[in-house]
């Protein structure tokens, strides 16, 4: 094997944070090499160093046999590094061929762009990968997976030697992932090296030749694909410990004595929803899954009163509500754990105890005057319960890590003794340890009697935690799965909208 990229002792610090600490690894020609690590492991920083966006503090980069002394995105691109970021950067209202060759020199005699030639070239490229896409189609009319592929085609239009793919499958359906993997494999067979970043373990195992694991900015290990026997092996290396029950399938047990906590009846909103019906029981976790744009978030906003509905009603503990506001929802024991920690979740510049008491001010301070001692005590007990690493009760959330911020948010919600918790992406962007804490918290309050609505784009999370799953598609409930039916294939089939519909149960 011939080495294409060789990184020696790469270090980078941002202020007090050591993002990368003497990372050494290499990519061979014609291999798919995956970088694996939890959020904050240093993957992004490493990518940015390779693509020339960030300069390392220390270390050597050797590319294709020569040492890189000066780097910026332009230089790296010229010597053959192409990168496709997680967020698509295509021009939606331009055509496919214009997107594939955004800076090309297809010029005719008088210096104008030769569209005809461009189109032909694009057609050739598309044929090469057996893609049935019209080069004249506007990109915005294509499905997400094809947009992603166009993005990759653009990246390889400069004939790079190394292609970096940053979480390319995060917005894709399973079938589309297969399609993408076909293309990646073809690229590899043509001699291109691919640096693949992901935390979807099953995908990583499917596609990689070698896997390098980073943890907290440090290099852990590089494994050959055939050395990996099970996903757990990788998880252990990523976190350095076994995370109990993280992706373990839970046993479904329907308790007989449960009551319905919330009934959503014929809920509708003009041009968005029509006839949405579902029940939330006490002591259950109701997972809501849907692809981006399926309406899962908009539905939750209606139920919590962040947006208004104009048809149907919500029945909470036998009280009918034709309209609802967050204030009313909280009075009835419903609380919303938002996905956005910075805006709509925490008060970054206020103290932890001020954050904790916000939704319960009037309940705990009956005479309307704030009792500092009481506030501190409540905060202290919640900090302990949620295992939040925080200097003291007057520290501000902006100083905390993502995981601790998320736990603080959970603590705020828990502080109102919720009867129902709407948890919107409760573990987005946090480390595995904090994730396990949040999962335990969700299970605990469900066991204590609350009903939980869990919205998540992570299938393993939905599958391992939910008693019931509603799958949404095109602002409709595409299907409901209970207990043993909750398996990946069924959920994805419903979400992606295949024709043989699952029967509605219960």
């Amino acid at each position: 094997m011939v080495m294409l990229l060789d990184l020696q002792d790469i270090s980078k610090t941002f202020g007090p944070v050591k993002a990368l600490d003497s990372v050494t690894f290499s990519v061979n020609k014609g291999e798919i090499h995956t970088i694996l690590g939890e959020n904050g492991a240093g993957k992004t920083t490493l990518m940015k160093i390779i693509s020339g966006n960030i300069k390392p503090d220390k270390g050597e980069i050797i590319f294709d046999g020569s040492k890189i002394n000066k780097s910026n995105p332009r230089i790296m691109k010229e010597i053959g590094v192409a990168i496709v970021y997680q967020e698509l950067s295509i021009f939606e209202n331009l055509t496919v061929y214009e997107n594939i060759f955004p800076e090309s020199d297809f010029k005719n005699k008088i210096g104008l762009i030769d569209k005809h030639k461009m189109e032909k070239e694009a057609q050739k490229k598309l044929k090469l990968f057996d893609l049935d896409i019209d080069p004249e189609e506007k990109v915005e009319n294509l499905p997400l997976a094809e947009q992603q592929i166009i993005e990759i085609l653009r990246a390889i239009s400069y004939d790079p030697k190394l292609l970096i793919l940053d979480e390319p499958t995060s917005a894709l359906k399973k079938k589309e992932v297969e399609k993408l993997f076909n293309i990646i494999t073809k690229l590899k067979n043509s001699g291109l090296s691919i640096l693949y970043i992901s935390h979807h373990l099953s995908e990583v195992l499917q596609i990689s030749d070698r896997i390098t694991i980073l943890k907290d900015g440090a290099y852990v290990k590089t494994l050959q694909r055939n050395e990996v026997k099970a996903e757990d092996q990788l998880i252990n290396l990523m976190v350095g410990r076994n995370i109990e029950n993280l992706y373990g399938k839970k046993k479904y047990s329907l308790r007989k004595d449960r009551k319905i906590f919330m009934k959503v009846k014929n809920l509708g909103k003009e041009n968005l929803f029509k006839n949405i019906n579902f029940d939330l029981y006490e002591r259950e976790i109701l997972g809501i899954y849907g692809l981006q744009g399926s309406g899962r978030l908009d539905l939750m906003k209606l139920i919590f009163g962040l947006d208004s509905f104009d048809e149907g009603y919500i029945e909470i503990n036998n009280n009918k509500f034709k309209n609802i506001t967050p204030n009313k929802a909280i009075d009835n024991g419903i609380v919303y754990l938002n996905e956005n920690r910075k805006d709509g979740g925490l008060f970054f510049n206020m103290t932890a105890c001020e954050n904790i008491v916000c939704p319960v001010l009037e309940n705990i301070f009956k005479n309307k005057l704030i009792d500092r001692e009481k506030m501190n005590n409540i905060t202290r007990s919640l900090i302990e319960k949620f295992n939040i690493k925080i200097p003291d009760v007057n520290s501000k959330p902006k100083q905390l890590s993502g995981g601790n911020k998320q736990k603080l948010m959970a603590a705020i919600c828990f502080g109102i003794n919720p009867l129902c918790l709407i948890a919107n992406e409760p573990t987005r962007g946090i480390d595995v340890g904090a994730k396990a804490d949040i999962h335990r918290f969700l299970k605990d309050i469900a066991n204590e009697g609350a009903g939980i609505i869990l919205i998540s784009s992570e299938l393993p999370e939905i599958i391992s935690l939910s008693d019931k799953v509603l799958v949404m598609k095109n602002y409709k409930i595409a299907g409901k799965l209970i207990g043993e039916q909750i398996i990946e294939e069924k959920i994805v089939t419903l979400a992606a909208g295949s024709k043989n519909k699952n029967k509605q149960l219960e």
């Binding site: 909280i330 805006d343 008060f347």
Partner: protein, 319 residues
């Protein structure tokens, strides 16, 4: 650990008490350099008395600033409320208490209109209250034309002149009001909500604060307190001119921001806003002491406003 703690503590203290230091510094500077004219009971008393007349108009404004809102119409409200009171008493022959009541109702109405447009119809607060400032100024001019520069009756004039133990009642009320309002701001659950709203509106909504109502109530409060100041000022000056209260809003914003209120919301205190006001009064008073042409007063206030807002932006917006 301890060192870090002290460092942190020191930093906070500096930000929190800056206004106290600079006010004291200005006071000492003037006392030393102009001990004859400045450091004189009469001068200092009249300075505090003047602050106590305008004091109320900074209360509601500080509440709004804490929430990240603003009201530029307080100067016009201040003038108009005085004029309406005078008009009711002089031109309509109504008793003083009724004139004041009608004028205060007008202030409440102004606040309701501001609040409704800004909160319900989502009009930009600066533009909305700027429009209101111009509109009310127009109404005020109409009233002052009707009044024709007449001096208000002695019963009305007596209000701002009323004394207890040889101290003007407005000064006593100011001190009591500062203590009570500051206590409420620190302790009361309703006033705590102003800080939540100013720090993050979406988070406040999600945790059940009725942000719409809190904001409307505070717009009304702001016009109301500007109205109280307007009545006290009309009673003291005894006449309302077309330009009464002009520029008051910027003076008050300057004072509040000097006192640590952020135009980006989330911080502010009535006590410190008043200290800011006192500091401004000291600066303007000092300019008189040093025989600087009063034409420059506006320029100096403007410079201080720009400096204060710049510091505010550095401290509060970038984190």
């Amino acid at each position: 650990m301890l060192k870090n703690y002290l460092k942190e503590k020191k930093k906070i203290n500096f930000n929190e008490f800056t206004i106290i230091f600079i006010t004291i510094a200005a006071f000492i500077f003037l006392s030393i350099n102009k001990s004859q004219t400045f450091f004189d009971y009469g001068n200092i008393y009249s300075l505090i008395y003047a602050v106590s007349i305008q004091f109320f108009s900074i209360v509601g404004l500080t509440f709004l600033l804490i929430m990240g809102e603003i009201d530029l119409s307080i100067g016009s409200t201040f003038g108009l409320v005085g004029a309406i009171t005078g008009y009711c008493i002089l031109n309509l022959g109504l008793p003083v208490w009724l004139g004041i009541s009608i004028a205060m109702l007008a202030a409440i109405l102004i606040g309701l209109i501001n609040g409704f447009f800004i909160v319900k119809l989502k009009v930009n607060p600066i533009i909305m209250t700027l429009g209101m400032m111009i509109l009310l100024r127009g109404v005020l001019i109409a009233f002052t034309t009707a009044l024709g520069g007449a001096t208000y009756t002695s019963t009305f004039r007596a209000i701002a002149r009323y004394k207890i133990f040889n101290v003007h009642i407005t000064i006593i009320i100011m001190f009591l009001a500062i203590i009570i309002i500051q206590f409420l701001l620190n302790k009361h659950t309703f006033f705590k909500k102003l800080y939540y709203v100013g720090e993050n509106l979406n988070s406040s909504n999600i945790y059940g604060i009725k942000t719409v109502w809190v904001k409307i109530i505070m717009y009304v409060t702001c016009s109301f307190t500007a109205g109280i100041a307007g009545i006290l000022s009309a009673s003291r000056i005894a006449v309302t001119m077309p330009d009464t209260g002009e520029g008051l809003e910027f003076k008050m914003i300057t004072a509040a921001v000097l006192g640590g209120a952020s135009i980006y919301g989330g911080s502010g205190s009535v006590l410190k806003s008043v200290l800011g006001l006192l500091f401004l009064a000291l600066v303007l008073n000092g300019m008189v002491m040093f025989n600087i042409n009063p034409d420059w007063q506006q320029t100096v206030t403007g410079v201080i406003l720009v400096i204060a807002i710049t510091i505010d932006t550095k401290l509060n917006k970038e984190n």
